[in-house]
Amino acid sequence: MTFLINRRLIPTALLAFAFILTGCVSEKPSTLEEQAQNIERLLICPVCPGETIDQSQNELAKQMRAIVQEKVAQGESKDQILQFFVDRYGQGVLAEPSRRGFTLLVWLAPPVAVAIAVVLLVLFIRHALRTRPGYADTSMNEDEDTELKPFLSQVDREAGFSPLRGSESSGRRSESEKRSDG
């Protein structure tokens, strides 16, 4: 069971953590234009079905874009500009729900759900490991079972296979053997 924890979970967990961190990293845009565009992508056009003001060709969307560009040029921060529109149109104008208050739930639920799923997965794997019945690959020494001999030879013929003997080796296989020892 420690095998499970060590091998699989910790690297995966670390990777996951790293990914999530990078996901939260936001880049500083370089130009005013880019800044405005980024903000425009965060605002929904109030009269269009689900389009941001960046996407929509609607009259109101164009006006809103103009306002955003003006405010960016005046040096207002992203939060200030967003708040301006929220005051006028309500929370629904934000493309991305705020991370405060009730809508924090939106952001929390996915990581929590994934964490629960991981726990379930681990439990499932442990359960599956435990219920493994011993399967008969080495318990039967096929060479001694004379009854099966003719069937085994036929299988070898039909599959185009030569049965392995202990000392049998081939050039390539012994090479990989040497590698695996090193």
């Binding site: 095998f3 389009e51 104008v93 050039g171």
Partner: protein, 666 residues
């Protein structure tokens, strides 16, 4: 009328298959099969008559008057046919009947015990759709008086992409019923072997259909919606995406069941989830509670579908819980580090994305109910949460094929993965040196390089190994693919996914956008492109005004040609349709959309540079190719001589077994 007939036949077929299977009554089952096949021509006739009404401009048929007009060109009839609720339902019924007929025909030969209950389920679902059409949403309703002209077709639908995207997408969504039906059949009969074969085949087919539909939708959005993007995490897009994700999970774990016989119950649950999600999709599509560019409009019909989804989900899961003990897993897992476990991780990530997507779609409703406040969950949410999950999935895609079945050893894996890792690091360093510094982009490109290297390494090793056996590289490679089609088809599909990832990474992180106002003759510069606006030709038509702009693009001293961004304004719909002028190369797309004309003769354009988007469209055919290879039936293996293994050591003294075998062959 034909629809009523079809409905009656479908109900009979469902009952017949069910009863026949239960009582093992051959003629009844056969009769039920014939009934199922016959529904196809009956519905085809109904379809033909509706198309005929369109072509005849019979505006007395309410549906025709709502979705066409005298100005509409005849070839748009195909699109008008499914433009509205009623017509699209008829199309869906036709698609389902066709898929069912094929499934039943093939299944009767391939999986004789599972198919009869499966066909009963298929016919039941079909009956539902037919009942809705017959009693609630018939496209054949007539108006009391024929209006002189119709309302015309929605301008957004006039793009060639609309000829294939909706039909493919709808066929895919309803097609999930087929693997679902077989899953039910498996549950009811306990025959897991037959179920696996049918389930895998249909799972893959429907998966490919859905995937193509999604890519086609992205292409349509990109070229006509005019904002330069291809996926907006719109609720309708999302509900089409979710069953695709569930099916992706399924086609992976079904391979585990095929090979080792384990996870039989989980596979059934996956298919049930996919089916419920596809029904959810249909609910949202038809007057669901969330507004979207895509929906057919608000209507009460949506709630009928919600009801059906509720019934379908509860019945299927109820049956599952009562009957699941019949499905036994003969073996368990041997090691947590094994391909089986990797597939489970794959499932977790895929379903994770599906959950996040569902959550984002549903949350506005929750907020409305509990807080009374309107909240929008838009693209930024999905991108931030799903992004990391996608990255992990792609990483897993690169590692997975190198995790052996049953039990893997780190040593072996480290050896196999060393080259792909080195390649990935090398690519990342190269990218850094040319100025790509955004960490997420580097991560995405690095991981993509890793996956691609892994795939090619496997192909190369295989080809080399066969070359050693005396085949030349080309035939060796072809035979390699043919020798294990599911695996190599799968690699091809993975390659397609990486291509999509590259396109998404390139355009998301390094896309540039600019709105410019140009007077005739004026030039705008974006990066190193220079765009000169020449003129706009205005063509008024009966239902719209078309504006075709002419621009000349050059880069440095090279002229790249003349392009014609196009826009049409439809006063009746108060909407514009656009066709972007796109100069597309594998490196980047230069994308120009005409926005409007200003007084004084200027023209407003939105210009975008979208890197790497070209690869997304290439991914489509690659995906289909990969699926076809996977599905290609493996011919019965002939007796193949044992590959002769070159000996670096002194020859063995015992007689060479291969030579003995070769001489004994006929």
């Amino acid at each position: 009328m034909a629809v009523h007939l079809a409905l009656a036949v479908a109900i009979y077929s469902a009952a017949g298959s069910g009863l026949g299977a239960w009582k093992r009554h051959q003629p009844l089952m056969e009769s039920a099969r014939y009934a199922a096949y016959l529904i196809v021509p009956v519905l085809a006739l109904a379809t033909a008559s509706l198309v005929y009404s369109f072509l005849q401009r019979d505006f007395q048929v309410r549906y025709v008057s709502q979705h066409s007009n005298l100005a509409m060109e005849p070839w748009l009839t195909w699109v008008a046919f499914y433009a509205g609720n009623e017509g699209s339902l008829l199309y869906i019924a036709l698609a389902l009947s066709l898929l069912s007929a094929i499934a039943i025909r093939v299944g009767t030969a391939q999986s004789p015990r599972v198919t009869p209950p499966a066909s009963a389920v298929l016919m039941l679902v079909l009956s539902f759709f037919l009942a809705v059409i017959a009693f609630l949403a018939s496209p054949f309703v007539r108006l009391p008086v024929a209006p002189p002209d119709g309302q015309g077709i929605n301008p957004l639908l006039t793009h060639p992409g609309m000829f294939i995207h909706p039909p493919v997408m709808m066929a895919g969504l309803v097609g999930v019923t087929v693997p679902f039906a077989f899953a039910m059949g498996a549950l009811l009969t306990g025959r897991t072997k037959e179920w696996i074969d049918a389930g895998r085949m249909w799972g893959l087919i429907v998966w490919a259909i859905l995937g193509s539909g999604l890519l086609l939708g992205a292409w349509w959005a990109y070229t006509i919606l005019g904002w330069g993007g291809y996926w907006g995490w719109d609720p309708i897009e999302n509900v089409g995406f979710m069953p695709f994700l569930a099916l992706t999970a399924f086609v992976h774990t079904v391979m585990v069941q095929k090979r080792r016989g384990i996870f039989p119950r989980w596979n059934i649950v996956l298919v049930f989830i996919a089916f419920s999600l596809s029904l959810l999709g249909m609910f949202f599509n038809r007057g669901g509670p969330v507004p979207s560019v895509h929906s057919f409009g608000q209507s009460t019909l949506g709630w009928v579908f919600l009801g059906f989804m509720g019934i379908g989900t509860s019945v299927s899961f109820a049956l599952f819980f009562t009957l699941q003990h019949r499905l036994e897993s003969p073996q368990g897992l041997e090691s947590p580090l094994s391909r089986e476990a990797a597939f489970l991780l794959n499932n977790l990530l895929l379903l994770g994305v599906a959950f996040v997507t569902l959550w984002g779609v549903v949350f506005p409703l929750i907020s409305q109910i509990f807080q009374g406040r309107e909240v929008t969950v838009g693209a930024p949410f999905y991108n931030q949460i799903n992004g990391p999950l996608f990255l992990m999935l792609i990483l897993l895609m690169g590692v997975g094929p190198y995790v052996p079945w049953r039990k893997a050893s780190w040593g072996n894996m480290k050896r196999s993965l060393s080259i792909p890792t080195l390649f990935s690091v090398a690519v990342t360093l190269v990218l850094l040196s040319i100025g790509i510094t955004r960490p997420l982009a580097l991560l995405a490109f690095g991981i993509s390089a890793f996956v691609v290297a892994g795939i090619f390494q496997e192909w190369l090793r295989g080809a080399i190994s066969r070359h050693r056996q005396g085949e030349n590289y080309l035939t060796g490679f072809a035979k390699l693919i043919a020798s294990n089609r599911p695996r190599y088809g799968g690699y091809t599909v993975h390659l397609a996914i990486v291509l999509v990832a590259l396109a998404v990474a390139g355009s998301s992180f390094y896309g540039i956008q600019r709105d410019v106002v140009l007077m005739p003759g004026e030039k705008a510069t974006i990066q190193d492109y220079s765009i000169q606006y020449i003129s706009t030709a205005v063509t008024p038509m009966t239902d719209r005004t078309e504006y075709q702009a002419m621009v000349r693009i050059s880069r440095g001293d090279n002229s790249l040609g003349t392009f014609y961004p196009w826009r049409a304004f439809y006063p009746d719909f108060r909407m514009s349709a656009t066709r972007a002028a796109i100069r597309s190369t594998p490196i980047e797309d230069l994308y120009i959309i005409p926005s409007e004309s200003t007084e004084g003769g200027g023209a407003v354009f939105r210009v975008l540079i979208n890197p790497l988007v070209w690869w997304m469209w290439i991914a489509g055919p690659v995906l289909i190719l990969g699926t076809l290879v996977s599905l290609w039936p493996q011919a019965r293996p002939k007796i193949i001589p044992l590959p002769s293994i070159p000996t670096a050591e002194p020859a063995e003294t015992s007689p060479d077994p291969e030579q003995l075998q070769r001489s004994s062959q006929p």
